[in-house]
Symmetry: C2
Subunit: 270 residues, 2 copies
């Protein structure tokens, strides 16, 4: 099932290095309405860190602040190891295009994770099996076509306004062309939930993620052992107020293991 | 009720400016076990931005990465406006001591919030009134003494191990000496929940917040209209695994308005 040639996602998030400055390029395959899919941008930034010769440990936390629109084309990633100790690293990444102002500002923490008391506090939300869940119809945005979304709950049906706004959704998320889940695809998938405001209002409105934070609850060994190509995602909002709304989400393995949690704050016009 | 002389919290989070470099000093009043209370550090960083002559709008998002221990004494805050547009600003702040490595790295977003469709999606958790809830006994850490914690649910009783680990807690949080809630105290209170691992394990273990993210769902006008000196906090964890655990929390006004949401990832040894 898995592709042998480079996966579109890997093409889209490719980076090349020269010292502290890395280069990347936006991808038409992962294009959103007015710029690159934010999840692809976040994953590209994380890739520059994962591939960095000074990197040790696995991604633990990533925050990406989307400061300005990103134009189609090349970009630079200024990558800086801010602090390192025995078991963790703190990074800062600035994305620029053509020497202009910073378009994206990110911080990341990597950690070498040691065995400890372990407890899965949150319950697995459960779902109808992937194979028995209807794929979401392909829609216009190129990046959406790169995923196989299968809604278990809260599928957005435009024009069908519910009695009370409901921003919860639960869905299977897989790369359209199957690709083994790693920290990079988890990063992108943590931004792959449709905007909560679309769910709550049941309409498309101007929207943009302002800041995204994702925590990883598995290391590379854990993910290798899972050996999966899809996750069960659940997301909700807590509030929409004065042009901003939040989102909190969970990404689960099909076996019921919490892989990542994510939160974001986003602008909307409605 | 409100103090007229400077509140200890304002002393503890005081900053003075000189261009892009601000100075602060750790506070013995808000000291934790091996360093300053992380919430005071976060609030101090936010204060440098709120007080900055170039600042416009209100805090929307703050992420603080605790990179290294902070020693008792003075520190510098290197404050940088990374990007500004019509209605929002992106900031980056680096805290150092005596020219050493970065001890704390933070990013923040400020926004001028405009009227919009508004919807409080998450339900107010409710609680017994503050006056009818027992104060939590004073404990050793100085910073804890600066707060009036009153547990409605999940009060940690050391040694009393529940049948299954439970990391949920709901409690009133007020400054011990009443102080009107603003974005600064919300920031500190977003880190004032006791470590989830203490709740889950019902014991104190080595613990440290690695990264904290807080979103503000009210602007200064909203907070001024609330005119409150305490919040209802609710917090839980989703997972403890390989020495790291998460926390997600909500801070509500007594009238049932969601003021801020927060999440953090923390190291523990257990």
């Amino acid at each position: 099932m898995l592709t042998k040639t480079p996966h579109l996602f890997d093409d889209a998030t490719k980076v090349t290095a020269s010292d502290s400055r890395w280069q990347g390029h936006t991808s038409q395959d992962y294009w959103a309405f007015v710029g690159p899919f934010g999840g692809a941008t976040a994953a590209t930034i994380l890739r520059a860190l994962v591939d960095h010769p000074q990197r040790s440990g696995d991604p633990l936390a990533l925050t990406v602040n989307y400061c300005a629109p990103i134009a189609e084309g090349a970009f630079d990633l200024d990558v800086r190891l801010v602090k390192a100790n025995r078991s963790s690293q703190h990074w800062c990444v600035e994305m620029t295009q053509g020497g202009d102002d910073i378009a994206t500002l990110a911080t990341a923490v990597f950690a070498e994770r040691r065995p400890s008391w372990s407890h899965p506090q949150a319950p697995y939300p459960g779902a109808t099996p992937f194979e028995k869940t209807q794929p979401y119809p392909k829609i216009a945005a190129p990046w959406v076509k790169q995923y196989d979304f299968r809604f278990v709950e809260g599928e957005p049906v435009p024009g069908k306004t519910p009695a009370a706004p409901n921003s919860y959704s639960k869905l299977w998320i897989a790369d359209r062309v199957p690709r083994k889940i790693d920290a990079l695809s988890l990063t992108a998938m943590s931004d792959a939930f449709f905007a909560r405001i679309f769910h709550a209002k049941r309409e498309l409105v101007p929207f943009g993620t302002v800041s995204l934070t994702t925590y990883f609850h598995v290391d590379a060994d854990d993910l290798a052992a899972e050996d999966i190509t899809r996750v069960l995602g659940a997301a909700d909002a807590k509030i929409f107020h004065k042009s901003y709304g939040d989102q909190n989400g969970e990404l689960w393995s099909p076996g019921g293991r919490l892989l990542a949690t994510t939160t974001q704050i986003a602008y909307f016009k409605a």
